[in-house]
Symmetry: C2
DNA sequence: TCATAAGGCTGCACTGAGTGCCATCAGCCC
DNA sequence: GGGCTGATGGCACTCAGTGCAGCCTTATGA
């Protein structure tokens, strides 16, 4: 269980909470974990909406005010580790290695999220069932996912800066990566965490790479000389798209 | 701001469509429009969070209870026409023409959303500025967009039923279409509704179609289909020269 | 050993969104 | 007219979230 859980709530407060939490990662507050445990026990017992914050703090044996010091909102207690994961992802993308292929790097970043889910399968499955049936939680999850997607898109925008339709490509690819990741993740969660999450996600991301990555549509023939490139295109493809593939195949852009 | 721009005007077509709809409120509720107008006037005047529902109903001269009869939540008053648009999109997808290309049909469905925005540019731009700076509204917008995306994905799942990775492809393509649409839409909104929204969105959707439209298949084998062109180039050739050849090969330029 | 300062925790009071219930008042059919 | 229906308004209530002030624990310094 990680430390920070600030959410994009009423501005200001969440930032301060995140700052204090992340600045002292060594001191693990047991109260935070106690609140999460109490909350999930009640959520599973009687449902999310039938559980009030007062119920949670009563079971945890702490003051009501303390709940909101650790979690900006009632929804946040359901996603206690995403803030940390998002920070990790941003750091991973920031400390790049700009020589790597952008789409591949974004896929690697997406895999970090899967890893977080896979670290605690039972918890993830429970949360999945909860969010699936509570509209409010589903909406909150959307805002969480959106922040991941924005992080990926911002990274790609940086990598595609100057290229034609750079922001469009960045946004679309980020959305596709997130959708593929979520498709695989949910399929794994639906199997109660029994399948091979990594393989499922790899397969899904492979589909996205095949659609947007450079190689598949502009394959470098195996038997060809190193300095010869073969581009295969449909006659009715948009010229700009073909040029983009071409640039990628030639190792430019 | 004039009240005419704030109120989502209903032209004859929308009116007729609303009449056919069974779920929507009665055919012509003036109170609904009055509430939207009052709400936007206050939101723009003093901000969303600084405006209470009591303020809105006081300005509109109606009872507080009536507000929640027309809008399930305070956020809903900001997106008064999306419910109708979503229903229209679902109907459009349901009454298909299953002979058409799935991706193209989904792009057409996405264009319906753009049309709704373009019907009332000033209102759309105002709402865009509002949602951009209010985290709560941004989160709500995500849930709205998510429902569009689900509608597209469900349609594609039906079309791809039985195909390998059908649901994966459906989810990814739906996400890509929505991302492209939103990229173009926001670019248009940022220009205060002065650009050509249709052309911008067409261009963005063209990118998605080029990536997913008809699977490239890469038939590097015996006989190539008529519509596939193979370009062979040296890796160190000048890009402009390659593009020239390309244009010639594609029969353009 | 004690005073003091700091920080975490609690209780309390308050705002505002959202809901359930019932009274009211219009139009409408018999 | 009398009753029915549906839209509206008012009232009271729950609950999430916040600001504030006080308390308790702990560390520090004399």
């Amino acid at each position: 269980m990680s430390s920070s859980s600030a959410a994009p709530r009423r501005d200001g407060k969440a930032e301060a909470a995140a700052a204090t939490a992340t600045s002292a990662p060594a001191s693990k507050p047991p109260m935070r974990d106690a609140l999460v445990a109490a909350a999930f026990r009640l959520f599973l017992e009687r449902g999310y909406e039938q559980t009030t914050v007062d119920d949670i703090v009563a079971l945890a044996g702490v003051g009501r005010r303390s709940f909101f010091r650790y979690f900006p909102s009632k929804e946040d207690v359901v996603f206690p580790d995403h803030e940390r994961c998002l920070a990790d992802m941003k750091e991973f993308l920031a400390t790049g290695d700009d020589g790597s292929e952008p789409v591949g790097r974004v896929c690697d970043a997406a895999r970090m999220v899967l890893r977080m889910y896979a670290e605690n399968p039972t918890f993830s499955v429970q949360r999945y069932r909860l969010t699936k049936q509570v509209p409010g939680l589903r909406a909150y999850e959307l805002s969480v996912v959106w922040r991941y997607e924005r992080a990926l898109a911002e990274y790609l925008r940086g990598r595609f800066a100057g290229r034609r339709d750079g922001t469009l490509r960045a946004d679309v690819i980020a959305a596709a990566v997130v959708a593929a990741h979520n498709n695989a993740l949910r399929s794994w969660l639906r199997s109660d965490g029994h399948g091979d999450a990594g393989a499922t996600v790899d397969h899904a991301l492979g589909y996205v790479r095949s659609a947007f990555g450079s190689p598949p549509q502009a394959p470098v023939g195996e038997g060809l000389p190193e300095d010869v490139v073969v581009v295969v295109s449909r006659r009715d493809a948009p010229l700009w798209r073909v040029v983009q593939e071409l640039e990628a195949a030639l190792g430019r852009g």
